[in-house]
Structure formats: C-alpha cells, structure tokens
Amino acid sequence: MNEDAGPIFRQVAAEIENAIVDGSLAEEAQAPSSNELAAFHRINPATAAKGLNELVSDGVLYKRRGVGMFVATGAREQLLKRRRSEFADQYVRPLMTEAQKLGIPARDIAAMIDEWEGQ
C-alpha cells in the first residue's frame, strides 16, 4: 500500500472494488480475510478490517458468520454505476484543466477522441 496516498483502509477497499469491477473477484465469491490482506500488504490487521467493513456498510460485501465475507450479488453493477457517475469529475475535469492551460479547444479534444476510437 502507498504511504503517500491517504488512509490505507480506503486503498484496501478500492483495491477490492477494482477486483470486483474487472471480474477477478466474482459475485458470491469469498473476499480475502483481514489477516490475509494484512500479511499480503504488510499492514495492520485492524486497518484491513476497516477497509472490509466499509465495503460491508456500502453493501458491496456481506458477512457470513464464522465463515468470512462474500461479494454481494449486484455489487458489480452497483460499483459500475457509481464509477460512471464519478467519471466526469475524475477524468474529464483534469483533462479539461490541462487542455485550457495548453489552449486546446473542446472540439479538438472531441476530434482526438474520435480519432482514438478509430484506431
């Protein structure tokens, strides 16, 4: 985990979300335990548990008592929906800020995207 990237529990949660979005962690599959995450990332187990618990309260994971945590059905769709709504803010805003600095008009950017898609 990255020491320069804010709270580690959020990085843990984001990593599990990524695995769900790209399909490597399927719905109804068991998520890694806090001790497994702690050992793999060399982080405190309480921090790993906090990341998992955040995903439980978001409804992405659910607990099976005495067994572990599992990916909820519908979690992938839920995450995709949220990421799509954040897309403009996370990707288009920095793109436009840089474009403004360089004096590239929006229509030129649209043309670049068309060209990119044609490749």
Partner: protein, 312 residues
C-alpha cells in the same frame, strides 16, 4: 481481529520524570490501547525510552501514576510477568550464549513459545551456541526480536528493535510480527525512527517532543488530517493564512505547504483556489509537526501558533 476496542492495557496519568536538572517527561497523560500496535515516535532525547522504562516497571516516576492491566508495574511480579521489554542495547551476563538467553526467557515468561523461538532463530540465521558478546549489532537486535516475539507477553515493548538490521531482516521482523500478532493479538509498543517503514503496521501513534505529548491518535485518521498544497507562492501563502499551517518550503516562486485539513476538504478548498493537493504521509506529518514546535521554541517560546512568515 478485534476492532474499535477502547479498553486500555496501559494508562499513564500526569506522569513527570526528572533526572536531577533534566525533565525527561513533563505531565504526560496517555494510554496504550489493548491488543493494538502503537508506534512511539519522537526525536532523539524526546523521552521515548524513559516512557518505555516507566511502563515496563523499570523505573518509578517522579510524580503521577502508571497502570498496566490495572496495577502499578513497579516491583509487582504478577504484572511484570506479563510485560516483555526489549531494551536498546540489552546487556547479558558474560559468557551468555544465545541459547542461555532463550532458556532464561522461557523461565521468565509464562506464555513463552519455544517453537516460535526456534523458527525465528532459523529465520534470522542465529547461531544458538555463539556467545552474545561476540555478536554483531544486527545479530544482537535479532536476539531481542526473537525473545520479544516468542515471549508472547500480553504487553511487549520494543525500544528501537532493529538497530543494525539490514533491509531483509527488517522485513522479516515486520512479517513475523504481523503473522504472530494476527494469530495471538496483544499489546505492542515500539519506538523507531524508521517511520515510513513501520507506519503501515501501526494502529496508533504517540508522538512525544521534549517530554510532552504532541500527537496521540489512530494512524488512519492522521493520514487524513493534513494535505500538502503546492502552487505559486502568493496563492499558497494566501491559502495557508486561512488555515492551520504546519510547515512550508519554497523554491523560486513556488511553494509547498503542509496544512491541517482532511483530503476531501483539501481538494474542495485548495482545488478551488487552483492549487495542487496531495495527501501527506505519516512521516511527513510527524516531521512537519516536530519542526513546527522547534521553530516555535526558537522564535517565540510562548507563541500560540506559528505564522507563515516564521515557518517559511
């Protein structure tokens, strides 16, 4: 894995420790959470070792009270059995071999795990029959780590456990500490200057500076308690004036400032001002706060807060 527990294994209340003219600890009140790993940080001479000696029952405070699992540790055998203090530069009797140190520890600590000790001896490549006096600095540190982990003491205190250890051996220490802590959670306190390396392992941080508590908080909230703002000097200065500034550096017309605020707030506030915003690592926060207090001491000992002009 227990989380969110608020029970304290150790409470330190209004503790002052004086050695003749020197005040090593000045009215310190804090606690070490049960079954958490706490990092004890601070510059050389801050009072870290004194605090660890007091908590481990090796000294009596000049004033104030210390409770470990509810009782005063000093000359209290029932409590001392539950405490393993690995001192920096631990001295052993002459002619003591590593195996003799392990035998003594096995007698001393009721939870001693001989299998764990044997496997750690292999991990660190320690020669059991070698006289401890003849070991290198790093190997002596490794002996302390073996004893500290295998003691499985409910309170284990490490004072700079890895002086002289190479990067491989340090990583081995982190891995074995985490693995054993996961298996058998206990209260661990360790002092270190290698903040960046140890930070991900810590649940809590206690920062002391010249015998006083500067920070006492959980590590994750600290990672979200300050941002580093960069941009043109005039803009950064204007921004910092409206918030709590911890530290600033400038190069030409460019300035970098550590400002106390959460990441989300930082992105909104500084982002709107056209400045770039990044999270501040634990190490950067600790350095900024320690520098801030030494700047205050140097310029205005009783100043309530440093102004930008003084820090920059």
């Amino acid at each position: 894995m227990a989380t969110g527990t608020t029970t304290a294994a150790v409470t330190v209340h209004d503790v002052t420790m004086r050695y003749r003219e020197h005040t090593a600890l000045d009215a310190v009140t804090t606690s070490f959470e049960k079954d958490a790993i706490t990092g004890l940080l601070g510059r050389n001479g801050a009072g870290k070792t004194t605090l660890m000696q007091l908590v481990s029952g090796h000294r009596v405070p000049t004033s104030g009270s210390i409770r470990v699992f509810g009782s005063s540790p000093y000359e209290h055998d029932a409590v001392l059995r539950d405490i393993c203090f690995i001192k920096e530069g631990q001295r052993y009797p002459d002619h003591f071999r590593i195996s003799d140190a392990l035998t003594a520890a096995a007698v001393l600590f009721p939870n001693w795990d001989a299998d764990l000790a044997a496997s750690l001896m292999r991990d660190f490549d320690l020669p059991a029959k070698r006289n401890i006096k003849k070991l290198s600095r790093g190997m002596t540190s490794a002996v302390g780590i073996v004893i500290g982990l295998a003691s499985r003491a409910p309170l284990t205190v490490f004072d700079e456990p890895y002086l002289g250890l190479d990067a491989v051996a340090r990583q081995l220490f982190y891995d074995r500490l985490l693995a054993d802590y996961a298996e058998s959670p206990r209260t661990v306190v360790l002092s270190t200057h290698l903040i960046e390396e140890i930070a991900p392992l810590l649940e809590r941080v206690l920062l002391i500076d010249r015998g006083r508590v500067l920070l006492d908080a959980d590590t994750e909230s600290l990672r979200d308690s300050a941002v580093t703002v960069t941009g043109p000097t005039d803009k950064v200065q204007a921004f910092a004036r409206r918030h709590e500034l911890l530290h600033a550096e400038s190069l030409g017309g460019h300035m970098r400032a550590v400002v106390r605020m959460g990441e989300a707030q930082g992105h909104r506030a500084a982002g709107a001002a056209g400045l770039s915003v990044e999270p501040t690592s634990l190490q950067q926060l600790i350095v900024a706060m320690s520098l801030q207090t030494s700047t205050e001491r140097a310029s205005r000992p009783l100043a309530p807060a440093a102004s930008l002009e003084e820090v920059s």
